[in-house]
Symmetry: C2
Subunit: 261 residues, 2 copies
């Protein structure tokens, strides 16, 4: 196996291992003895789950998370510089996407070291697939601001971009605030803007539902404390004719006269 920085995805839900991780990934992992991990305990547990015989005691683990001093990160790649394969694992999902793993990939790229991404589950991508939103363009925006006023501005900005560019806007929320986020979006999005809430991706309780914002007002599903992703998209099924009528209704009639339209 060629020496490289292998990016190793981890399961994200309670789905069986054979539904989430290609079996060949374990073949790659078995050749690795140096791991850069977001959390030491969950990474060891994951390796044991994948392979009871995994020689964890022969391995070196470097913890890379928001507590890691920036100056230490480069040293994590010394094994790779010596020609040995090194693995990167986040707590769940694909490493180096919206998690601290990107810092070590950046260094590897700067030094011309080979980086190899393995296949695995991504709640961002899987929610996008199942939303029914046109995936020609999409943006992942991380967390929205916490304060109501800033959040409102952010939501309006995202809705405007979705409408103008046809770009699906994806964002996340701290799980215990999910219900509040659903109500907030139901109230502040335009009634016909499409909202998809994707929850417990890759779990037995998975639920991925798309409806116009107005219909989310009657939502009784409890999303709190469950990992969720929010996606918004303009409603292309509102015909152009209807859109035009609505547009003219919304115009100030005096202004219309002034403009001679």
């Amino acid at each position: 196996m060629p020496p490289a920085l292998y990016l190793i995805p981890v399961e994200i839900g309670d789905s069986p291992l054979d539904m989430t991780i290609p079996s060949g990934n374990l073949r790659v992992v078995r050749e690795i003895r140096t791991f850069i991990v977001e959390n030491l305990r969950t990474a060891r547990r994951c390796l044991r789950r994948w392979d009871r015989e995994f020689p964890i005691d022969e391995c070196t683990f470097h913890e890379l998370n928001r507590h890691t001093p920036a100056i230490e990160i480069s040293g994590f790649l010394d094994a790779l510089r010596r020609g040995e394969p090194v693995g990167v694992m986040s707590e769940a999902g694909c490493p180096a996407v919206a998690d601290p793993g990107a810092a070590v990939v950046e260094i590897a790229q700067r030094e011309g070291l080979r980086v190899v991404p393995l296949v695995g589950p991504s709640s961002i991508l899987m929610s996008l697939m199942a939303s029914g939103f046109n995936g020609q363009g999409f943006a992942f925006n991380g967390y929205l601001p916490i304060s109501e006023q800033d959040k409102l501005k952010a939501v309006k900005d995202l809705e405007a971009r979705a409408s103008r560019l046809g770009q699906t806007q994806i964002f996340i929320e701290t799980p215990y605030r999910n219900n509040r986020m659903v109500s907030f979006l139901a109230e502040h999005l335009r009634p016909d803007t499409l909202l998809c809430v994707a929850c417990d991706i890759s779990s037995s309780t998975e639920s991925i539902v798309t409806m116009p914002a107005a219909r989310w007002r009657n939502c009784r599903t409890d999303y709190d404390k469950r990992p969720a992703i929010f996606l918004i998209h303009r409603n292309d099924s509102v015909s152009d004719e209807k859109k035009e009528k609505k547009f003219f209704k919304e115009q100030n009639p005096r202004r219309e006269r002034r403009n001679g339209r």
Copy 2:
């Protein structure tokens, strides 16, 4: 297996099946007899590759691509409406992301039918993982315009967004124009903007390289006729102090005096 619209990823390179598709996906596929596919021939071939014994002759295939009349699409879901599982397969990678499959998912969502995304390879996500770019925010923009003038404007817009929002900008090009795209970006991006070119993802010839735009001018790699993804990101390793100096150097000195700065 519960009736649902199953979104079934397909390999994207020449990597072995066990490196790209979780084995459990095949278990799901074996229960399905109705498929909505981007290309009939490649879909049949794929099912045969996955399982020599697959009862292709007992299956119904609906072709969904840009030639499919919009009015026919809804009918593809009749089996699901009767309570049978239905599969969606694109030519390569994850269905319903930047491909026509999204149209049928949209209808399923509108009718409250269950949609289940399976895990598989996505060149967009895998290139993002391996780019070393901070994945806190990213946008996929599809193809850029073809004319030089419009392309230049698009590239400048994307670079500005990457710089302002720290949002990685991802786009693609028709494979036979890849080399021209690399030269174009090397010439027109700011010299320190980071450019990642990810090529032949999930293949034995995979290459994912990130360098500042200026260094791509000396690039000798032949990317033509190979599937590639382009990613740009601001260069955060240029220290704030340097950025500030550069900023002041770039200012028009007369304007500076006028503003009293």
